[in-house]
């Protein structure tokens, strides 16, 4: 049995409508922002010059990337050359900075390196500024780079290591002759990614900058919207960042090595030919300590807060601040769940639509759809937040929590859907290759095929990627900071407010709640989806 023209038409029109719905998620707020900016009587504005913003954004991005690469490669090398049981622990610890929301890392910076930590101990009078921003960026990105370059060592055939042994290559020689050529293509892409990451950074610069001197595009957009009330300048900044990011993305895609880049697996098999290096063992221990330090610090500080509460040492303001946690947790959970559902549905339909278009010979339409989806990567999250602020302002719905909640879900979905699409498209293609014809022979089309073939095969990856997308996006500060209010705030917003009020210890309890919420939710979906059975 072959699919009828009408069923194909229904599928294509459904896909088209869902695509339009997805694009409207960023088109509507952007349009609202444009309309709003025209309606404002912008008299005089205190705008930080664009060239200074560009200069600092580039400076901190280059420095952060360079340092992250140096330390990231060091971490990867140590893990590879540490053949003891420590290696597994070190590799697991690399995941900690990746699952901890950035704001929680910034909070732990205060306890570890700020005036309450090392800076205070050594009498450093001005710990804020570039050094603080760099330290957080490097911490986040060195582990990311290490995680991304680790699979490079898989690529070397065992013969390489034998020859290296025969030639007595050790240390620097081994690195230069054998390891660096393997790592180079991986390092290239990781560096580009890391550069983009630092370029669009908001939270560390916002919280630890300490002076208008340290202004990036993202923080300048925030200032333009929140402080100067200048949507026009915010739009100019947003477009500038978008263009620069697009150029960087295009450069990455153009110059990236053609060989396969299976980043993300991060698993290296034990290779007995790689000699254990005592220095690598020491470094691996240091890596574990460094990666675990923020989480451990937050755990300790959160425990202290609980103890203070139990012993009655917490001030009234402290207790009042503490009382906001359950409501923020509820908002965060609702955002995660709703975003997960919308990401799952939209992501699935869009991925299927893209494949269908390609199969039906509409490659150009599929490419346009993909490119438009890619726009999301380059658009500053703050601009989308500003767009929603414009929607709220134009509709006059300041008092409605529902519209703010819808904005939360929309922003989270917008950020999360591309993650879901990119996760399931390869699996979907594989599924189509293996079972597409079989399903056709069995007469399974449309909804029947989705129910009987696609969902059972794809549900694990769909649920996991959607859960991850929801968690990742809801942990962001920048997207929500402009639209949240006293009644509706997510945990990252609450942490930011607590930090701004210097309730650092109470903020640590909120941070721990956020981290645990993310971990528990991901684990719940992992078991709920049956992924553990497949593992």
């Amino acid at each position: 049995m072959l699919p009828t023209h009408s069923s194909a038409r229904v599928f294509l029109s459904t896909g088209g409508i869902v695509s339009l719905l997805f694009f409207s998620l960023f088109a509507v707020p952007l349009l609202a922002l444009l309309l709003w900016s025209q309606s404002q009587n912008a008299a005089e504005h205190l705008n930080y010059p664009l060239y200074k913003i560009l200069r600092f954004t580039l400076t901190q991005s280059v420095l952060s990337t360079g340092l992250s690469l140096f330390f990231g490669l060091g971490i990867a090398w140590s893990i590879v050359h540490c053949q003891s049981g420590l290696r597994k622990v070190a590799m697991l610890s690399l995941l900690l900075p990746l699952v901890m929301p950035v704001i929680t890392i910034c909070l732990s910076w205060n306890f570890l390196l700020g005036t309450q930590g090392l800076a205070g101990y050594f009498g450093i009078k001005r710990p804020y500024g570039l050094s603080a921003i760099l330290s957080v960026h490097v911490f986040l990105n060195m582990t990311l780079i290490a995680w991304l370059v680790l699979p490079a060592w898989r690529k070397a055939p065992e013969g390489y290591w034998r020859i290296a042994q025969m030639l007595n290559l050790t240390g620097w020689q081994l690195w230069r002759q054998l390891e660096w050529p393997l790592v180079k293509p991986y390092a290239y892409r990781s560096v580009a990614l890391c550069f983009l990451f630092c370029f669009t950074s908001f939270t560390p610069v916002f919280l630890l900058g300490g002076s208008p001197k340290y202004t990036t595009f993202e923080t300048a957009i925030y200032t333009a919207m929140r402080v100067n009330f200048d949507p026009v300048y915010a739009l100019i900044l947003g477009i500038s960042q978008f263009l620069i990011c697009t150029v960087i993305i295009v450069m990455i895609l153009k110059n990236s090595p053609k060989q396969s880049f299976d980043m993300g697996r991060g698993v290296i098999f034990s290779n007995k030919l790689i000699a254990t290096n005592w220095m690598a063992t020491i470094l691996s221990t240091v890596i574990i300590l460094i990666c675990a330090a923020p989480l451990v610090t937050i755990l300790i500080q959160a425990s202290n807060t609980v103890m203070s509460l139990v012993e009655g040492h917490l001030s009234e303001t402290g207790i009042e601040t503490l009382a906001s946690i359950p409501k923020a947790l509820q908002t965060t959970m609702m955002t995660i769940i709703s975003a997960m559902l919308t990401c799952l549905c939209l992501g699935w339909v869009l991925a299927a639509f893209k494949l269908k278009l390609t199969r039906q010979g509409y490659q150009k339409v599929a490419l346009t759809q993909e490119m438009l989806g890619g726009v999301v990567y380059a658009l500053p999250a703050l601009i989308m937040g500003a767009g929603w602020l414009a929607v709220i302002s134009l509709t006059g719905l300041w008092k409605s929590s529902v519209i703010i909640y819808l904005a939360f879900v929309s922003l989270t979905t917008l950020i999360g859907v591309p993650v879901v699409i990119r996760s399931i498209v390869p699996a979907y293609e594989q599924l189509q290759k293996q079972y597409g014809k079989l399903a056709e022979q069995l007469g399974l089309f449309g909804w029947q095929k989705i129910r009987k073939v696609d969902w059972p095969q794809l549900k694990v990856i769909l649920l996991l990627s959607a859960a991850y997308a929801g968690v990742m996006a809801s942990g962001d500060l920048g997207a929500f900071i402009l639209i949240s209010n006293e009644q509706l705030q997510t945990l990252p917003i609450l942490i930011q407010r607590q930090m701004a009020g210097y309730h650092h210890q109470i903020a640590s309890l909120s941070a721990l709640t956020l981290i645990l919420t993310h971990m528990v939710w991901l684990l719940a979906v992992y078991f709920f989806s049956g992924a553990w059975r497949q593992q």
């Binding site: 504005h45 205190l46 200074k52 950035v102 205070g120 009078k125 001005r126 991304l148 990614l193 990451f197 370029f199 669009t200 300490g210 002076s211 208008p212 001197k213 202004t215 402080v227 009330f229 980043m263 993300g264 697996r265 769940i337 709703s338 559902l341 999301v376 658009l379 999250a381 302002s393 300041w398 929590s401 950020i415 591309p418 993650v419 996760s423 390869p426 594989q430 293996q434 129910r451 009987k452 059972p456 549900k459 694990v460 990856i461 996991l464 990627s465 991850y468 997308a469 990742m472 942990g475 920048g478 997207a479 006293e486 509706l488 701004a500 009020g501 210097y502 992924a531 497949q534 593992q535």
Partner: protein, 387 residues
């Protein structure tokens, strides 16, 4: 940032997904899938649908709970909503006590909303326009009331101000003053870095080894205060003064509360605050270790004010609240919890150890002058700090 994080992590999940998928697909070949389809699919679909339904119900309930929050808030709507700055509504600030006193008097419900710092009240009003839910705003000062008037949202007051005792004559017909003070640099007398406290602004500027925490003039009324103060004394040479101070600034905080907390935590030698700030430590904490610098050139005067909004649905109640703010009882509360001088005779009277007003000139610009030149001054400040 999250977008780029997404870029990298979706690649990660792509890898993970492929691994999971391959493992899943290895378990079943063509024959197995036929068997799978015929026997297990219906069970799996039923389970999956049940799971999706559960999640959907949770999501719908979440939406309903948000809506319920809205409904709750409607049934529990306060009679008077007031926007103010955070430290005003803190437990140690005057807000809670004033609300308690006024509620007992009016038999109504009052809600004070802290919107970080004073200048954010202005930003908030700009954003919300006529849709604002505030009836009254508290905390703008003599530097900013003209700018607020220009928004066209502030109503004329109907408050009797004959009992006012102020260092300058009050002329606004929209805002009423409720306290005043003089900006000053506060320090800890036990701090060994401060060997000889400066007695002139010039001496203070020429210090090399001490550090300061200041507030952002774009968000904080205190920050705008120091910019105005330096402008008043040094005029065209203000940029040079900022250049000299720049190396000593530890951080620029968005508001007074944050700056003062950091100072108390030991992050700097001085903090920009008020001449009355040491009184808080002395009277409330019995700690006489804090003092403020007194400069011969004079100290900038800040008069804090409140106003009613034209859009208020309860103008009479809003006006009553403004009148209440200048009563002897409210003035006593404000003076002893906001730690500023009262604008009329307080009752109960101030404690004996409450600091005297500084015997130096009180400096100020008119609100119109600040509105006209503020942008230029702050732009100059921004230029110097970004060097």
């Amino acid at each position: 940032m999250i977008l780029t994080l997404g870029t990298c992590l979706d690649n990660t999940s792509e890898g993970m997904g492929t691994v999971i998928y391959h493992r899943a697909s290895q378990q079943g070949r063509d024959m197995k899938i036929l068997n799978y389809l015929s026997k297990k699919t219906s069970v799996l679909i039923r389970q999956s649908v049940a799971k999706i339904a559960t999640i959907s119900v949770i999501a719908v309930l979440s939406m309903m709970s948000i809506h319920a929050d809205d409904t709750d808030s409607l049934s529990d709507t306060p009679d008077l909503k007031i926007y103010t700055y955070d430290s005003f509504v803190a437990d140690w600030g005057p807000g809670p006590k004033l609300v308690e006193l006024f509620e007992a008097q009016c038999q109504c419900k009052v809600e004070m909303i802290g919107v970080t710092d004073a200048l954010n009240i202005l930003t908030r009003l700009r954003f919300e326009g006529e849709d604002t839910e505030a009836d009254v705003i508290i905390g703008l000062d003599n530097n900013t009331i003209h700018e607020a008037d220009e928004l066209g949202l502030i109503a004329k007051h109907d408050v009797d101000l004959t009992a006012l005792e102020m260092p300058i004559e009050w002329s606004s017909d929209t805002f009423i003053p409720f306290d005043y003070g003089y900006f000053a640099f506060v320090y800890n007398k036990t701090n060994e870095n401060i060997k000889k406290p400066a007695t002139t602004f010039a001496d203070f500027i020429s210090e090399k080894d001490t550090t300061i925490i200041m507030q952002d003039p774009r968000t904080s009324s205190v920050g705008l205060g120091i910019v105005s103060w330096i402008q008043k004394i040094y005029g065209e040479k203000s940029a040079e003064v900022w250049r000299q101070l720049n190396d000593r600034i530890v951080t620029i905080s968005p508001g007074w509360g944050e700056a003062y907390s950091l100072f108390l935590q030991g992050d700097s030698d001085y903090v920009l605050s008020y001449t009355t700030s040491p009184a808080y430590h002395l009277i409330a904490e019995d700690d006489d270790n804090y003092a403020s610098l007194t400069f011969e050139e004079g100290h900038y005067l800040q008069i804090e004010a409140a106003a009613r909004l034209k859009t208020s649905k309860r103008p009479k109640l809003a006006n009553d609240f403004l009148q209440f703010l200048v009563t002897a009882e409210a003035q006593s509360t404000i003076a002893q919890s906001n730690w500023m001088y009262p604008v009329s005779e307080p009752k109960p009277a101030m404690p004996e150890n409450y600091p005297e007003k500084p015997q130096v000139p009180g400096l100020y610009f008119t609100s119109e002058e600040v509105t006209e030149d503020k942008t230029k001054w702050i732009q100059s400040w921004l230029d110097v700090l970004s060097e």
